[in-house]
Symmetry: C2
Subunit: 201 residues, 2 copies
C-alpha cells in the first residue's frame, strides 16, 4: 500500500506511456507525474481491480487512450456477453480503443467505428509462457512509438508486432529467446502472421 | 439402426461429396454407392462417434479428403492438446486437410505443409444459431465445387465463404435470412471479413 513509483525526470516528457497492471490509484499517480499529456496512454488492468478498486478504475479509464484486457474481463467491466456490445459500452467509459486479448485465440481491436481481429500463431509447443503478455504490450506500444502517429491502420500492425514478439518469448525460458531475436527472424515471423490469415476473394 | 440412405442415380457421379454428421457406417455406405470416386469428399463427424464407433470412424477417415471437427474433438481424436500437434496426427489418419471449428473464435485449416486461420465475425447479437454449422459446410464445399479445383488457396477462400454465409443464417429464424441474401449482400459480407483481418507490414 506504500508503493509509490517515482517517474524519472528523463521519462516525464515521454510521448508514449504504457501503464502495466498495478492498482488504478498508482496508474493515476504516474499519469499525474508526467510533465505533459503523452500522445498515447495504454493501460493494462484486470478483474481484481474491478472487484476491489472500481471507482479508481473508472477514473483512470477517463485519462487513457487504449485499454487492454482479456475477454472475460471485458464482459465483467461492461456487463455484456457479446464482445461487440462490451466494446461499445467500454468505449463510452473513456478509452478510444479497446484491445480484447483472447490467449490462444488471438486478440480483437475495437474503435467506435472499426474492428480488427488479430490471429494467434498456432504453436506445436509452448516452452514457457512467462512474459508473453508483457512482451505483447511492449511490442504493441513500441511499434506505435516508432510510427509516431496513432491511426487504426497503425494499431492493426502494432497488434501483429506485439503478437509476433510474444511468439518468440514463449520459445525459451524468461527473456532468453527475446534477447537473441534478429531483425530477419522478426521479419519472417511477421510474414508468417500475414500468411496465416491471407485469402483472396 | 435401420436407416440406410439411398443415393439417387442423378447424384451418383457428383464430383463434390459432403457427408454430414451421421454414423461412420452410413457415411461409408454412401461413399460406396458413388459411381466413381468424387474429386473431393468432405466429412463432418463428432465426439459421439469417437466414443461409440471408433473402428468405423478410422475406416471412413481413410476414404475422405477433408475432415471438419471442433477443437475439443480434434484433441480427443488425436490425444494431443496442441492443435498443431493434433492436426499432424490426424493428417496421418487419412484426410489431406483438416478444418478445426472454434465457434466464436473462427476456424483453422491445416494441410501437411500449410496453415490458415479464418476469423469469426464478432456479432452484437445472435438471433438463432440453428443451422450455422450446416450453412458453413454448404458454403465451404459449394465454393470449391464452383472453382472445380482443390488447392490450399481455394480452401482458404472456401472457409471464408462458409463463414460469411453462416453469419447470415444466425440473423433470423431457420433459413429465413439465407433465402433472402442477395449477391451484393454476400459480396459486402465477404469484404467485411477481409477488412476484419487485413493489416500492412
Amino acid at each position: 500500500a506504500k508503493f509509490n513509483p517515482v517517474v524519472p525526470e528523463a521519462a516525464k516528457d515521454a510521448d508514449f506511456l504504457m501503464l502495466g497492471n498495478l492498482t488504478p490509484a498508482i496508474q493515476i499517480g504516474v499519469i499525474k507525474q508526467m510533465a505533459k499529456r503523452p500522445k498515447l496512454i495504454v493501460l493494462d488492468t484486470m478483474n481484481f481491480w474491478m472487484d476491489s478498486a472500481w471507482d479508481d478504475l473508472m477514473e483512470v479509464l477517463t485519462m487513457i487512450d487504449v485499454l487492454t484486457i482479456n475477454d472475460e474481463e471485458a464482459r465483467q467491466l461492461s456487463g455484456k456477453h457479446s464482445l461487440v456490445a462490451a466494446a461499445k459500452k467500454i468505449l463510452t467509459m473513456g478509452p478510444k480503443y479497446l484491445v480484447v486479448k483472447k490467449g490462444e485465440h488471438g486478440a480483437l481491436l475495437f474503435s467506435k467505428d472499426e474492428m480488427f481481429s488479430a490471429p494467434a500463431m498456432p504453436l506445436e509447443s509452448v516452452f514457457d509462457p512467462t512474459g508473453a503478455g508483457d512482451t505483447f504490450a511492449g511490442g504493441f506500444i513500441g511499434y506505435l512509438a516508432k510510427q509516431n502517429d496513432v491511426t487504426f491502420e497503425h494499431l492493426r500492425t502494432a497488434l501483429i508486432h506485439g503478437s509476433a514478439l510474444a511468439s518468440f518469448t514463449v520459445e525459451k525460458f524468461g527473456t532468453q529467446r527475446l534477447q537473441d531475436v534478429t531483425d530477419a527472424e522478426l521479419k519472417n515471423r511477421l510474414m508468417d502472421f500475414h500468411n496465416l490469415v491471407r485469402f483472396s476473394l
